[in-house]
């Protein structure tokens, strides 16, 4: 019965929530029960995936592809504001829940192995389950507020998971940074909601989108403001300029977390939001240009930083930022399907990359642990030649590298190509898009380069781990490699989702998303390119990717590397890149420190303590006391003086009485 499966939609988020509750209880009461924890943690995800799949299948059978909204209870019924706790399944969220539960399940599985020896095992799974719950709320929410529950919730879980090993200050700091930066974006989301409510009187997706065209004149200031505020939210959640800085720091969390949250799911929320609100963005060309422009710029900017990072996960982090930039370029251009497509493929190969990196780190960590060395298990300068010890990992990661670089016929090729083509095509209408396209191409070159660099330094050349440790390096157990293999498969085949007509494909995903994107597409019709141009673009892109890979292979010398503790400091541009363009330092100097200084030295110590409390409050008390003291000094005890005052009083009274 398709209907009943759809009715069970609530199970999709409820299962991970149940997992959280159970695992959370276990974490607080019996942290040692790892078997039960694994069973619950992974089990609920698999069940959720099954429920999601069932719901999607049931949904697919429905005619027309209209969204299915399930209302559970009135959440915020206040006057004309009627927010239900409601879930909405449409074709966009269908894709998302499958990705989230599917990739999520794999990552859960991987974590069973990766986190096996951690004392916080139960807590970890509790958080992970909670994260999946919130992510599902985000994508299934039928209104902005419900989506916002997930939106902030994933930020929370990100915070908890990044700071998972909270006894290291750096981890706790990173978690806090993630939350606060996300919050800045969230305020944008909030304000956008306020504006929408003020303008349309509702916050349900259905109402808002159907009223949007009638309410907002295209290109008007109001809709531009709304979309820009929404996009501010996206920059926070999806780590775009200027709010991207939390993501690299987020690598302090356990590696599967990086894979799940900071590659596959949470960071794509912004892309999802823009796609979801395609109608609104279509009405605001300026905002769309900002989205695309920021996306392109971020893609390029992050790629430059990735060039010089040594921490394997940081390279991947900047790579993620860069790839998210592509997605925004896509959705900003109006190519929503392309953006979502890249979102999906990216989640495959980036999860693969992260889990692969996790596998490497796992191995390195074990090796160092066994030898009681204190070297950095994530620094590529300490690796090298690992393909011998970790053959599966190496080969799977190579697949992902090629995919992210955009080589055919891997998943990344199709999705990235579509975005770039769409951007180029848009250039015909609005020339600025040519610049975006150029930045995208440049970023693609850099992507290929730094990914190859990562692979070279990690898996090729001589091993720099150290004599003792080398013997302990070995491939991870099946629970970890298994998911890798699965993801590898998806990376290989994922492109099939949306093969363009150019290659004889049917653009399945595009058509699947049609009901969702139709309204936006009507407002902002895609520009058709000629076959020849398309071919030229495709070939150009492939050539650029190949150039990047070959360039890296030719220019980089893994043999010349020395372990991290022996490495000389960077100089020149390399140092600037290594220092991430000093953006963190800039923020610190321009925002963080002044605010702290202002709060502490001015607001608290001067305004609060001195001015309000000291001068006004205690000041009046002191003044009263001082006046009283003066008065009591007048009380000299001498009658002579009293008489003087008395007579003065008499004169005053007479003066006043007679006047």
């Amino acid at each position: 019965m398709p209907g009943s499966l759809l009715d069970a939609l609530w199970l999709v988020p409820a299962l991970p929530l149940a997992g959280f509750v159970l695992n959370g209880a276990l974490a607080l009461t019996r942290p040692g029960a790892k078997r039960a924890v694994s069973l619950i943690g992974v089990g609920v995800l698999l069940l959720a995936f099954a429920a999601a799949a069932g719901a999607v299948v049931a949904f697919a059978r429905l005619p027309g592809g209209e969204p299915v909204v399930q209302r559970y209870w009135e959440w915020l019924p206040v006057g004309d504001l009627q927010v239900h706790f409601a879930l909405q399944l449409d074709r966009l969220s269908a894709v998302m829940i499958l990705v989230v539960t599917g990739v999520g399940a794999l990552i859960h599985l991987f974590s069973v192995g990766y986190m096996h020896d951690d004392p916080g095992y139960a807590r970890y799974f509790a958080y992970l389950n909670l994260f999946v719950f919130f992510m599902l709320m985000l994508v299934l929410g039928a209104s902005f507020p419900v989506m916002f529950v997930g939106w902030e919730g994933v930020g929370l879980c990100s915070y908890l998971l990044i700071g998972f090993w909270f006894n290291e200050q750096i981890n706790a700091d990173a978690g806090k940074k993630a939350f606060i930066v996300n919050r800045i974006g969230d305020v944008g989301f909030l304000v956008a909601m306020f504006l929408l409510f003020r303008a349309t009187g509702s916050l349900d997706f259905g109402d808002v989108f159907s009223r949007a065209a009638g309410t907002f004149p295209p290109g008007g200031a109001l809709i531009t403001a709304i979309t820009l505020f929404l996009f501010l939210g996206c920059t926070g959640k999806s780590a775009q300029i200027p709010l991207y800085t939390w993501l690299p720091d987020a690598m302090q969390g356990p590696t599967p977390v990086s894979a799940l949250i900071h590659a596959a799911t949470m960071v794509t929320a912004g892309v999802y939001l823009v796609a979801r609100c395609g109608v609104l963005f279509a009405l605001a060309p300026v905002a769309s240009a900002v989205v695309a422009g920021v996306g392109a710029l971020t893609a390029l900017f992050a790629a430059t930083i990735a060039l010089k990072q040594w921490d394997i996960k940081r390279v991947l982090a900047y790579s993620t930022i860069s790839q998210l930039g592509y997605m925004f370029l896509g959705v900003g251009t109006g190519a929503h399907a392309a953006g979502i497509f890249h979102l999906a493929t990216h989640s495959f190969f980036k999860a693969l990359l992260f889990l692969g990196a996790g596998s490497v780190i796992h191995a390195m960590h074990h090796a160092y642990h066994a030898t009681h060395a204190h070297d950095d298990a994530q620094d590529m300068r300490n690796m090298g030649g690992l393909r011998h010890q970790l053959p599966w990992t190496a080969s799977l990661m190579w697949i992902a590298t090629l995919a992210i670089s955009g080589l055919p016929p891997l998943a990344g090729f199709f999705s990235k190509d579509e975005i770039l083509s769409a951007a180029f095509a848009q250039g015909a209408v609005r020339p600025i898009w040519y610049a975006f396209w150029a930045m995208g191409i440049a970023a693609a070159l850099l992507t290929a380069f730094y990914m190859t660099r990562l692979m070279l330094y990690t898996f090729h050349g001589a091993n720099r781990t150290g004599e003792g440790a080398r013997a302990h390096l070995h491939e991870a157990p099946w629970v970890m490699t298994g998911p890798l293999v699965a993801l590898g498969g998806l990376t290989l085949a994922g492109g099939a989702l949306n093969v363009s007509p150019l290659f004889g494909g049917g653009t399945w995903l595009h058509r699947w998303l049609e009901p969702v994107t139709a309204a936006a597409d009507r407002l902002q019709p895609a520009v058709e390119l000629s076959r020849a141009t398309e071919w030229a673009l495709v070939l150009g892109a492939v050539a650029v990717a190949a150039l990047g890979i070959v360039g890296a292979l030719r220019l980089l010398k893994p043999e010349a590397l020395v372990p991290a503790r022996l490495a000389p400091p960077e100089t020149g541009l390399g140092r600037v890149l290594w220092k991430k363009w000093y953006v963190d330092e800039l923020y610190d100097a321009v925002l963080v420190r002044p605010v702290m200084w202002l709060s502490r030295e001015v607001l608290w110590k001067v305004v609060d303590a001195r001015l309000v409390d000291g001068l006004l409050v205690n000041g009046s008390a002191v003044a009263s006391r001082a006046l009283g003291w003066v008065g009591s000094r007048l009380q000299t005890g001498e009658v002579g003086f009293y008489v003087v005052l008395f007579v003065i009083g008499v004169l005053a009274v007479l003066g006043a009485a007679v006047r």
């Binding site: 002579g640 003087v644 007579v647 003065i648 008499v650 004169l651 007479l654 003066g655 007679v658």
Partner: protein, 173 residues
């Protein structure tokens, strides 16, 4: 200018002059004696103002009884010698004179701001009353009639004062 006016101003001058001496003499005894002069002058003024009985009382009670009591205490406490600190210093002096001067100025308005004309009796009303009822009778009659209650209060007042003075002054407590 009639004779009574001349007498009035003469004794007024004497009263004010001796009052000035009273407050400026360093010796308490001298002050007391100058005060007696003032009181006598006032008695004379009372006569001019048709209050002969009061003038007699003034001499008997004030100059005769109260001032003697003062002098007695002064002598008892051996305060006859003048003390240098008995009058305030220059600052106190200036302030005192200034304040009293202002007060005198303010009260000086009374010279012109007398009672409203509507309630004034003819100038010789008192003299005629005294002539009709006798010098004592004109005062004594209201005292025991309209002013009986205050009169009785004075008796209690004097009794209380005696009790108080005894309590404070008696040797053993």
């Amino acid at each position: 200018m009639s004779g009574s006016v001349i007498i009035f101003w003469a004794f007024a001058g004497l009263a004010i002059g001796s009052a000035v001496f009273c407050i400026t003499r360093r010796s308490p005894v001298a002050s007391a004696l100058w005060l007696v002069v003032t009181l006598f002058s006032l008695a004379a003024l009372f006569v001019v103002l048709d209050a002969q009985f009061i003038a007699v009382l003034q001499v008997l009670v004030y100059a005769g009884a109260i001032m003697v009591l003062f002098l007695f205490v002064i002598m008892l406490l051996n305060l006859g010698r003048q003390a240098a600190t008995d009058i305030k210093g220059p600052l106190g002096l200036a302030v005192g004179v200034a304040l009293a001067g202002v007060l005198g100025f303010q009260l000086g308005v009374l010279r012109v701001a007398g009672p409203p004309a509507a309630i004034l009796l003819p100038p010789d009303a008192m003299a005629r009353a005294a002539a009709e009822q006798g010098m004592v009778g004109s005062v004594a009659r209201p005292l025991f009639d309209a002013y009986l209650v205050p009169f009785e209060i004075t008796s209690v007042l004097l009794l209380a004062a005696i009790v108080g003075a005894v309590v404070l002054a008696k040797r053993r407590l």
